[in-house]
């Protein structure tokens, strides 16, 4: 019995060590090539260890007289939020596969974006593509969609026809732009290759946690689209409001 229990214990220990992540908190920033002298001096940052951390207190000094002697004044966080709450952003899946593309048969896939801005009065998430879906070796592209009649990187349009081709996206859920009227409305991604500016796909002016939206990507090709493997990259940038 003892031998059995010991064997089971050793096997379970081996299992947990190999198959679960072990996280080590990073104690300090040290690199053989980058020496940090007096880290955190003059800083009120870092993850709070106490919910009573006073954001409104200044590190360095408080009054003009003290500024004149030290030459600086630093404040971290928001004056009306009494703890420094981290701003967080999650992208549920970084690889969106469309499988084999069949002419006039739209292919869709989704991922979700989640923002928590508990420590900020609002936020924005902007999106852009590096280029349209493209065969890397030849440069052949699947153009960004023009929807059924028209749409752009700033304004969504209905896209329901299987004879309208291209690549686009729909947004649904929390804090998404109002032009995504329903699930049939799509936009193009702002194309950085074409010097288009990233566009807001989620935003709010309020403090919020767990704000979640779903991005639906759609590709539809014509019968004359050259064969090949098409790829691109969508960059999502989440920034709290100031």
């Amino acid at each position: 019995m003892r031998k059995f229990l010991l064997s089971a214990f050793l096997l379970c220990t081996l299992y947990f060590v190999l198959c679960t992540g072990v996280a080590y908190a990073q104690a300090e920033v040290i690199s053989p090539n980058y020496i940090i002298q007096m880290p955190n001096l003059n800083s009120g940052a870092g993850l709070p260890s106490s919910s009573n951390y006073k954001v409104s207190s200044t590190i360095g000094q408080n009054a003009a007289g003290l500024f004149s002697s030290a030459g600086f004044r630093v404040k971290s966080g928001f004056q009306y939020i009494y703890s420094i709450i981290p701003f967080s952003f999650t992208v549920s899946s970084t690889s969106i596969n469309f499988g084999s593309l069949i002419a006039q048969t739209p292919s869709t896939a989704t991922n979700t974006l989640t923002v928590s801005s508990g420590g900020a009065g609002g936020y924005q998430v902007k999106a852009s593509e590096n280029n349209p879906l493209k065969i890397g070796s030849t440069g052949t592209t699947i153009p960004d969609t023009s929807c059924d009649t028209s749409c752009s990187e700033t304004t969504a349009g209905a896209w329901t026809s299987s004879s309208r081709y291209g690549f686009g996206f729909n947004m649904s859920g929390d804090d998404v732009p109002a032009d995504f009227t329903n699930s049939t409305y799509y936009r193009q991604f702002a194309n950085r290759d074409g010097a288009e500016s990233p566009q807001i796909v989620m935003s709010s002016i309020y403090v919020g946690t767990g704000r979640e939206s779903t991005v639906t990507y759609k590709v539809n090709i014509s019968g004359v689209q050259p064969a090949g493997v098409y790829n691109n990259m969508i960059t999502y940038t989440a920034i709290p409001a100031y």
């Binding site: 059995f4 064997s7 089971a8 096997l11 379970c12 299992y15 190999l18 996280a23 908190a25 300090e28 920033v29 880290p39 955190n40 003059n42 800083s43 940052a45 993850l47 360095g60 500024f67 004149s68 030459g71 600086f72 004044r73 966080g77 928001f78 009306y80 420094i84 981290p86 701003f87 952003f89 999650t90 992208v91 549920s92 899946s93 970084t94 690889s95 969106i96 596969n97 469309f98 928590s116 009065g121 609002g122 924005q124 690549f167 500016s197 990233p198 002016i205 403090v207 590709v219 493997v229 098409y230 790829n231 691109n232 990259m233 969508i234 960059t235 999502y236 940038t237 920034i239 709290p240």
Partner: protein
């Protein structure tokens, strides 16, 4: 016999544990992409840093990045921004010239950093505006960018999602810590006339044409003539130089619309906006009026009266 049965049970349990271990180890080493979800999750703190600094001086600021998702490699950069709208959103200026203009102001480790799951990394940023820096505001976003795994999606029609997260830095270059601040009330408005059941909110938009960003510290006081007084505290939101900002109201630590409470409003409401810049100096004020009248009730009564009159005419008896 009992001993044999026990032995058989123990053996089966042991075999089951061994089999489970084997299957999971096989998955781990032969299909690494299937073991971890591809969820990228980052958090950054603090979300905002406000600095007033004399050119030629330097300070250190720490920004902490935590990885709550799959292991990633990240790269940091600092990008200038301009205000995008009246809601506190930013427009990053990511052209190389703009970034390089300020590259000497900031010193931090720019090398790719690996972050395991649940791992944090502190970026110590040395901020040193040169003595020659113009005395004005400069706005930046500290961006953490995930380096995508280029092996994902190879050979398949695919789009990759890249995550970036930022924290804002508002920097005022000033000799004495007191740049001139100049505010204008662009808008303090509410409907002049409303139905008693409608409800309404006050809208406040301020502009900054001075030399440094500021926060409005003040309130909206609403007096119902011959009635109650309601007070809203303005949210101390930053109004950046050369921009306008819509200011909401504060309920504890939450920003809310400046909406008059109550389902039925009646009478004249006098609203007084009063605030100072950063809580000091002269008070800026503006007053507006709103009249609430029960139009729907009146309309209903008129409709009933007219209907009654018509019925009486048609049936005089």
């Amino acid at each position: 016999m009992i001993y044999d049965l026990r032995f058989k049970i123990k053996t089966k349990i042991l075999l089951f544990v061994l089999l489970s271990l084997f299957i999971n180890l096989k998955s781990l080493f032969l299909n690494p992409g299937l073991v971890f979800a591809q969820e990228v999750s980052l958090s950054i703190s603090p979300p905002l840093t406000e600095i007033a600094i004399r050119p030629g001086k330097s300070i250190n600021q720490t920004i902490t990045v935590r990885n709550d998702g799959v292991p990633v490699t990240v790269v940091a950069r600092i990008v200038p921004f301009v205000p995008l709208d009246t809601s506190g959103h930013v427009e990053l200026i990511e052209d190389q010239t703009s970034i390089e203009t300020f590259s000497s102001w900031f010193y931090f480790d720019p090398r790719p950093t690996s972050l395991g799951a649940n791992e944090s990394h502190q970026y110590i940023i040395k901020i040193s505006p040169p003595e020659s820096a113009e005395l004005r505001d400069y706005y930046f976003t500290f961006i953490i960018e995930v380096q995508n795994n280029n092996n994902l999606g190879v050979g398949v029609n695919n789009t990759q999602s890249q995550a970036r997260i930022g924290a804002n830095i508002l920097l005022t270059a000033t000799k004495d810590g007191n740049p001139q601040k100049k505010v204008s009330i662009v808008k303090f408005a509410a409907p002049s006339l409303i139905d008693s059941f409608s409800g309404f909110s006050y809208q406040v938009i301020l502009s900054n044409s001075g030399g440094g960003f500021f926060k409005p510290i003040g309130k909206i006081t609403v007096d119902q003539i011959f009635g109650t007084t309601t007070t809203f505290n303005l949210a101390p939101l930053n109004v950046l130089v050369g921009s306008e900002r819509e200011i909401g109201c504060l309920d504890g630590q939450e920003i809310i619309p400046c909406k008059l409470p109550g389902k039925f409003l009646i009478g004249i409401y006098r609203a007084n906006l009063s605030f100072t810049v950063d809580g000091v100096g002269e008070s800026h004020e503006k007053q507006i009026y709103t009249v609430a009248f029960p139009f729907t009730i009146l309309l209903g009564l008129i409709t009933i009266a007219v209907t009654y009159g018509i019925i009486r005419r048609l049936n005089p008896q």
